[in-house]
Structure formats: structure tokens, C-alpha cells
Amino acid sequence: MAEYRLEMRDVVKQFPGVKALDHAQLKLRPGTVHALMGENGAGKSTLMKCMFGIYKMDEGEIYYEGKKVEINDPLQALNMGIAMVHQELQPVPERSVAENIYIGRYPMKKLLGCIPVIDHEKMYADTERLLKKVRMNFNPKQRLGDLSVSQMQSVEIAKAVSADCKVLILDEPTSSLTANEVEALFRIIEDLKAEGVSIVYISHKMDEILRISDEVTIMRDGHYIGTWDAKDLTTDKIITQMVGRELSNLFPERHNVPGEVVFEVDDFTSINPRSFRHCTFNVRKGEILGVAGLVGAQRTELMEGIFGIRAHNAGTVKFKGEEIKISRPRDAIKHGIALLTEDRRATGIMGVLSVADNISIASLDQYLDMGIVINDKKIEQLVQDNVKKMNIKTPSSKTQIQSLSGGNMQKVLIGRWLANNPDVLILDEPTRGIDVGAKYEIYCIIEELARAGKSIIMISSEMSEIIGMSDRVMVMCDGRITGFIDGKDANQQNIMTLATQFETQPTAAD
């Protein structure tokens, strides 16, 4: 057997205005975990999409088990034994877990000896066996949409593993997983390694990378920087290679001074009894309130409730002492509140629209001549101001926003909200799926906003981010606020303690 199961040599991929891959390389050995790292825009996802047949390479060669191959579509890749679990999930929520796993390749049987029909019994039995193998215990007949996001991700991984793959690509697999689920995933990865599977692990989480991988390939701006043995690397060394500069801090120094309380939420309760309930907290002027908790703690739901996306049936919101009624997002916006949502593709960007349109859409009233005519020059100015201020990388203001990298999309969305000069900014996972360099830039923006007197509520699942950026930390568990910790006292232990403080008895009827 060849030393390398799969090799990608001198891969070039060009998109309009952006050279996503510039002679990228990758060499995978069997039975290893090979981490692929780099800032967003470095080309990791693009390279994997070339491997998986979603993109066609402009130049370059792929060698699979010593033979040169051309991979033209995902089905061919799957048949060759290459499987990919995407960063952005695309399940079919209305169908069952089993149907999602076997989508497109249902086990068949012949009814009455001649009519081909789906063999449901076999499908459910196979699924149960598979789920046991990947250490997950859902009911295979359960509707996929009833599972949480992290559980759906686990099903995606099971789906990839079920295809008897020899190469498994995991793109940001732990972004929505709880600590337990991450451990479970790592056990699966170890099992697969023992079976000889080559695993490509794309992630921004340094500690995971250093723990699970054997080799690390680093890319920067579409270029191949190098491959190292994981045991020779440290977080600092990785970051240096990724960004090409020494990063002295991961977080900026903060000079914001929290003032008086301006935003108060009292006894806020969802119409759904299993969602957020009796939530009471406040935020001061110029303060960054970090919101920590496990996946499923209902942090997003609480903020969506406050912003008017979800309904609540009890509780009040007060701004500067005055109660405000919010039943739709535009009410919240009118009162100076902004919400950067968790899933930018679903509820953030308008994909086919330009960067200019996306950035100006929430503040169009400000760019009108004679109250009616949109002044394109003013919008262009807005775009340029934001491009400079936040270092947004885009070929032009007319580029379709969906062709930008995740980090740049996020910056455009932040620009959208800032154009309204809000007093309270709610940021839900503002740096998810974003590279180290862009993360730092966003932290600086957040710090500047707080210094300017804005109130920032930041939901984050990254401990270091919560600890590094918050003046105060609010912790939620399973829909309730379990406690507050002062920024300087916050550490992984006390946050995790509050985050896992589940109720031991069922709540009495309120």
C-alpha cells in the first residue's frame, strides 16, 4: 500500500476576484488524524470541497492510493470511500433519523418477489447498529427535526461513517457539541483511526487539535505553509504560522468603564414551558455581559425572545427605566437594540444581494434624498467606511455577499447593525467559524463599542472568549439563569459549575 492514502498536489482554484487555492498540498496517511488549519479564507473548506467533488479544481492532481484520479461529484467521492461532514448542516428535518442517514441509498427489498420497495426494517436495524457504533442512542424512527442542533450534527457524522469511508473529512465538527458529545466524537475518531481511516479534522479549536491530531497542515491565504507532527506544536506556534505574525494577546486590552444600568429584563418567560423562564438580568452602559452555558441552555432563545423573534408570555424589558413593548424585530430596532444572530446564513445575510445592499438594508432611512430616492453614493460611503474600519475583504461593494468568507460576512452584518447606532447590541456567537485574525479584529470592535458607551450582550460557547472579553458573566442552564460572575473572578470551573446546575426536581406549576 502506498505510504499516503490520498495526496492533493499543487491545487489551484480561482473564484471571481479571489484565488482561493494557490498550489495547496495535502498528504494523508492511513489511520491518522490530520488537522487542517488556517484562518477563514485560507482555503481549508475549499480544498476539501475539491477533494469531495463539490468544486472542480482549476489545476492540480489528486492521487488516491497511488493512482491519479479525477473526482467530479460527491457521489463519486462517496463511492471511492471519501466522506465529508460539512460545517453547515443540511439535514431533512421532516424525515426520520434513519431516512436521513440512508438518504439516496435506502436498502431495498423485492415485494412479492418483483416490486422493489424500501426495506424499512433493515434500514431501522442498520441505523440502530450504526448509532450504537457511534455511541449515540436516539430512536432511529425519531423525526430528525426534533433533535437539537448538536444531536443533528452527531447524526451527520454517523451518516458519513456509515458509508464505510476510508477518508473522513470533518469540517468544524464540534462547533455545536457539548463537552460530553466532543468526548464521544473523539472516541469515535480513535475507533476509526484503529480501523485505518484517514481523518481530516478542520477546526479552529487549538486544544482539540493538539489533543486529537497526529499531523497538522497549516494554510494561509490559499497557500500551503507546512505540515508538522502535532507533538512538536503548541498553540502559539500554530497561530504564528496561521497568521504569519506573533500574537501577543488573543484579546485586546479593555478600557471600557461600565456605568449605570440602562437595560433591564425582568421575569422574562417564553410561551414554551421548556424554553427560557423567569429570566432576570440587567446590563450597564459600556458593559460587556458575557452569556455562557451549554448548548441547549436557551441563551439564543432568550435573546430572540427579547428581540421579538420569539414570543414571550411574561416579563418586561426596560430601557433607561422605561418599559418597552417588543413584539417584532422592528420594535426592538426602533428602541435601539440590535441582534447579530447565531446562524448568519439562515437569519443574517441575504445571500444573492450585494455587500452594499446587505450592509444598508436596516438603515435605509438614512440614505434618502427628498425622503424617497436612495442615494447610492451615501451607501457606497457606508460600505467604504466599514471596509476600512473592520478590514472587510471583498472584491467590491457589489459582490454577492455569499461569496465572502464567514468572517467577512459577519463583519458586514456587524456593519449593518452599527449603521443604526444602537444602544444595546446582542451578539450571538459573534466569532463562530471565524479565523484567529478576524476574531481579534471583532474583539477590538466590541471593545471599542463598549468604550463608546454601548451595552453589549455576548453569547459565546468559547470559554476563553467569555473569560477574556466579559466585564460580567451570566450563566444559563436549561432555560434558567443560574448565576452571575464578575469578569475578573470568572474561570472555567465556576462557569461550568453554574452551566451544569440542572434542576434536580421537576418544577412545580408556576
Binding site: 423573534i309 422592528r330 426592538a332 445575510i349 441575504m350 438594508i361
Partner: protein, 332 residues
């Protein structure tokens, strides 16, 4: 960025606009076979026919851009035509619908008809926005309802005996005979729509809703209000179309403009309005509608029996939408 006219980029443009190219080639061929093809008469007819179909396509475009559709367009225009015709009958006409009614000014009738059709559009929009009925179903139901209403109202009797100032609207022209009043009106509508789509909040919100309705809601756009306005404007444009069509034909019946929504959707799609939402331009729609009209004339000049033209048109509609979707699949 590569050279603007590389083989690859020309090939790409060709595959995206193949329908337009093929029809243009066909018309070039036909013009060599028959000199009447490029005659002033033919071109004038082409412009007039395109004018009214352009207006109805502009109406449908807003619905398509927001990922909806409007299958009631043709029947609403038909109702408008009948109502206009009835209100514009000569006082001296022996089969007048309303024998005692005084003759009303053109503008008043236009206003009544447009207002009624805007109201129908508002109902469509409300049902879609508030009751969350899928646009396909909502407007299909309205299509049948409006047809029924028109049938009841007109008693299935064809409307004739129109005033000469009304029919003169269609035959009249400004300056040269090429620029009939219909063409001028269509040009003004086109300019107005272009302005609306590109330079007003209405237009930006419309594209945003089509691009991502959930994101539009989160960004503070009043999606329900926008949708109702879009379907209302569409209705108003159908009303104008019906008013003009009756004048153009010198008469109308309950079957006037039947099925025109499909041509309008085809014209929009050929012209670049995407069924994926959020995309479409007024100049594109004009080209699409024009090209579809040219197709009809080409078939006619090629001696194709009128029965066969439906087959050709249906094929073009399907191919146009398939090509449109291909743009979004091929982008990966």
C-alpha cells in the same frame, strides 16, 4: 480578473442567454426569407403587443422576486378589460350594458379599474402575508374566483361598441406612428418601475425579502406590509393592462387576457428574474417579454400552425426556468 471576452466567459454568457440568442438567430433567418418581417407594420405590432405584455410582466415580477407568484394576473386583467369596456361603451350603442349611464372621462374609468384591481391584489397579498397561504395556491384560487366574478358580471356576453376616444388610445401615436400611445405608456411604466426597484426602499425591501425572508424580518423590514404592497401594485398594473388591451382590441370578453400570467412569468424568467428570489431587473424583463413576442411572430412567419405555437411557448417556459436554476447550481 480574466479578460472580459475570453472564450470561457462568452460561452458562459451564451449558455445563460441561449433562448434570447436562438430566437434572435431565428428572426434573422426569417427576415431573410420574408421581407414583411422587418416591415414597419410588423414592428409596430410587435411594439404594441410587447407594450401591454411588458406591463403585466412588471406586475408579476414583484411577486416572483419575493419567491411568490401570481397566477391571477391574466384573469384580473381580463376583468379589468371587461369593466373598462363596459364603462367606455358609446352612449349610442344599442347593446349598451348600462343604457342610462353618462359617458365618463377616460381617466375616471382608468382610476376605477386600477383601484378595483389593486384591491384584488391587496386581498392576494393579505392572504399570502397574514394567512400564510402559499402564493401559488392563493393566486390560483383568486384566478378562478375572478374568472367567475367576471363571468357573472358580463353574463359571458362579449363587450363591444366602444367610444372612439377610448379605442383611439391604442391607435393613436406621438410623433411617429411607431411610437403608439401604448408604447409610450409602457415606456413610462418601465421608467417608473425601474426607479421603484432601484431607487426606493420599496424596491430594496422587495429584493431583501426575496433574498432571505427570515433575515429581512430580523433586519426590521415589515415583510407583511411589503408583500401586500407588492401584490397591490401588481394588481394595479394588471388593471392598467386590461384597460389598454380592451382599447387595443376594440372589444373584449370574459376570455380576454386568459393565460397571460404564464407568458408574463416566461418573459420575466427569460429576462433574468429568478425563481430562487431576490434577482431580476426591469430592462431584463423588457428583453424577456420582447423576445417571447418575437418568438410568436417568427413561428407565424415560418408558417407554423397556431396550434403548434403553444407547444413551442410551453417548451420555452420550461427551458427558461431550467436555465435560470442552472445558474445557481453551476455556481458551486
Amino acid at each position: 480578473m480574466g479578460k472580459k471576452f475570453s472564450v470561457k466567459s462568452i460561452g458562459k454568457w451564451l449558455s445563460e442567454n441561449i433562448i434570447i440568442v436562438l430566437i434572435l438567430l431565428a428572426s434573422v433567418f426569417v427576415s431573410t426569407q420574408n421581407k414583411n418581417f422587418l416591415s414597419a407594420n410588423n414592428i409596430r405590432n410587435l411594439l404594441s403587443n410587447t407594450a401591454v405584455r411588458f406591463i403585466i410582466a412588471c406586475g408579476v415580477s414583484g411577486c416572483l422576486i419575493t419567491k411568490g407568484t401570481d397566477l391571477s394576473a391574466g384573469r384580473v386583467a381580463g376583468l379589468a378589460a371587461c369593466l373598462s369596456g363596459i364603462l367606455m361603451q358609446r352612449a349610442s350603442y344599442d347593446q349598451r350594458f348600462y343604457p342610462g349611464m353618462p359617458e365618463m372621462p377616460l381617466f375616471v374609468v382608468l382610476l376605477i379599474v386600477v383601484a378595483l384591481c389593486a384591491l384584488i391584489g391587496a386581498v392576494n397579498g393579505s392572504v399570502i402575508a397574514f394567512l400564510k397561504v402559499p402564493p401559488f395556491i392563493a393566486t390560483l384560487g383568486m384566478q378562478t374566483l375572478v374568472y367567475g366574478a367576471c363571468l357573472v358580471y358580463t353574463g359571458a356576453i362579449p363587450i363591444g361598441g366602444l367610444r372612439s376616444d377610448y379605442t383611439g388610445l391604442a391607435t393613436g401615436y406621438v410623433g411617429t406612428r411607431m411610437l403608439s400611445n401604448l408604447t409610450i405608456i409602457a415606456i413610462f411604466i418601465g421608467l417608473f418601475m425601474w426607479f421603484l426597484y432601484n431607487k426606493t426602499r420599496y424596491g430594496k425591501y422587495m429584493y431583501a425579502i426575496g433574498g432571505n425572508e427570515n433575515a429581512a424580518e430580523v433586519a426590521g423590514i415589515n415583510v407583511n406590509k411589503s408583500k401586500i404592497l407588492i401584490y397591490m401594485l401588481a394588481g394595479a398594473l394588471y388593471g392598467l393592462t386590461g384597460f389598454l388591451v380592451c382599447a387595443k382590441s376594440g372589444g373584449c370578453s370574459v376570455n380576454t387576457a386568459q393565460g397571460w400570467e404564464l407568458e408574463a412569468i416566461a418573459g420575466c424568467t427569460i429576462g433574468g428574474v429568478s425563481v430562487n428570489g431576490g434577482v431580476g431587473t426591469i430592462p431584463g424583463i423588457l428583453v424577456g417579454v420582447l423576445v417571447f413576442e418575437v418568438l410568436k411572430i417568427v413561428l407565424q412567419f415560418l408558417g407554423v400552425e397556431s396550434s403548434y405555437t403553444y407547444i413551442a411557448q410551453g417548451l420555452v417556459i420550461i427551458i427558461a426556468v431550467a436555465l435560470d436554476l442552472r445558474k445557481y447550481l453551476a455556481k458551486k
